[in-house]
Amino acid sequence: MIELRDVHKSFGPIDVLRGVNLSIPTGSSMVIIGGSGTGKSVTLKCVLGLVTPDRGSITLDGQDVTRGDRDAFLARFGMLFQGGALFDSLPVWQNVAFRLLRGALKRPKDEARAIAIEKLRRVGLKPEVADKFPAELSGGMQKRVSLARAIAAEPEIIFFDEPTTGLDPIMSGVINDLIREIVVEMGATAMTITHDMSSVRAIADNVAMLHDGVIQWSGPVADLDQSGDPYVDQFISGRADGPIEAVR
């Protein structure tokens, strides 16, 4: 269980998070929705320790995420970054097997390569892709490689940051289905941030709406269309008029 309690974060004079409270049960898939610049990525980075909250607490299975063995903590996570964040200087298979080539999870090179090729196959990529460099791949392929990297070490928790941004609808559907399949197959806890409603409906067990630095509404994805929350209604219908200002 991941729990955020009264998490605050400011950047200079801008208060991005103003008391975020959120619980993500183990094995469930939580999707955080919200407009651009509302702090979705900051929330996710706070959990990972990439950004330090100014106030509040974040716990994983009751343990404060800022204490204890950092490597052991991060070894439980996989992360798909918005832009893929693949390492340009490494071939695809070394990107996927990055964690398996160094550190506590280090495996022999041949074994790491075999695992990388298997993970690439799992996300629908052929073994020939393994020796290419990220710059030689299309956006959709890069996203899949990044997904393969996120699952390579079979983490307990996987974060997805805008997994379908910049992809065409068909490729978005492919990525959404892959994410859902992998999360179910691995029994992983998933936390996804997106403003793509097709992703929400494909991936989520539960949905939380972040707006103005706080969680405005949260609940099962089945309740999303009948939430009764004006923020959620405006967001999912994509209307310009409503409590969320169109010009931010």
Partner: protein
């Protein structure tokens, strides 16, 4: 607030900002060095940095030294002729190159080539979230990116300076023998007679310090790069400027330390 108070406040803010930057760079340097004694050590990244910083800088440093040695010989000959002291050309070329021009010009060339490329590479990695990705993959970016580059530059630049010394003296020799009518044996004899081990060693030590500073500036400004292409561009420019100024300033301090009476 009066105009004078505003003026003084702006000076104060600039000074405070400058001191804060010095503090941040010092902490960054300390953090980098502390990783030397804390495993793991990424040998492959160190090897790649050694090739990138050392081997691939060899042509530019070598050419700089060769032409500087030749030009120096011509200048010293012309200046020495005013005092009937043309014979000092070989020894002054050798001492000037090994103590000062070799390490300083070599350091500046490496700063232009390496500090910019390190800052641009790491800055781009930061903008595209590759640094965050490293962290989430349980890899410390300071250990994986900064330490290998700083260590490689600290070890490679003295070697570049040494090669530059040899090529610079050779440039002086070629001009001395070819253009200034020195005998080859006499030129070499004069060079070796007046050159001491400390002349060479002090230049190599300077090279190590300059290498450290160049890579440190590249990494520091890359890691602290702003967003977008403009942020990376600014980081690259700042890295080169800071590395160049630090090379010149530390050169004075080291010269004062090594050679003041």
């Amino acid at each position: 607030m009066s105009m004078i108070a505003q003026f003084l406040a702006s000076i104060g803010a600039t000074v405070l900002g400058f001191l804060a930057t010095i503090g941040r760079v010092t902490i960054f340097a300390g953090n980098t060095v502390s990783h030397l004694i804390r495993p793991p050590f990424y040998g492959r990244e160190f090897g790649a940095a050694l090739i990138q910083i050392g081997w691939l800088s060899l042509p530019v440093v070598g050419m700089t030294a060769l032409f500087t040695g030749g030009a120096l010989a011509l200048q010293i000959y012309a200046g020495g002729a005013r005092f009937n002291a043309e014979t000092v050309v070989p020894s002054i070329v050798a001492i000037g190159l090994t103590r000062e021009l070799g390490p300083v010009l070599g350091g500046l060339m490496v700063a232009a080539r390496v500090a910019s490329s390190i800052a641009a590479e790491i800055g781009t990695m930061k903008v595209t979230e590759q640094i965050d990705a490293l962290t989430t993959l349980s890899t410390n970016p300071m250990k994986y990116l900064t330490l290998p580059r700083v260590l490689a530059a600290t070890l490679a630049v003295p070697v570049l300076v040494g090669v530059g010394d040899v090529l610079g003296i050779m440039g002086g020799f070629l001009v001395g023998v070819g253009r200034l009518d020195f005998g080859a044996a006499t030129y070499l004899h004069n060079t070796l007679d007046f050159l001491t081990l400390w002349d060479v060693t002090s230049g190599l030590i300077k090279g190590a310090v300059f290498g450290f500073l160049v890579a440190l500036m590249g990494c520091y400004f890359g890691m602290n790069s702003g967003r977008g292409a403009q942020g990376v561009g600014r980081a690259t420019k700042s890295a080169v400027v800071a590395a160049s100024v630090l090379i010149l300033a530390s050169n004075y301090l080291l010269t004062e330390l090594f050679f003041s009476a």
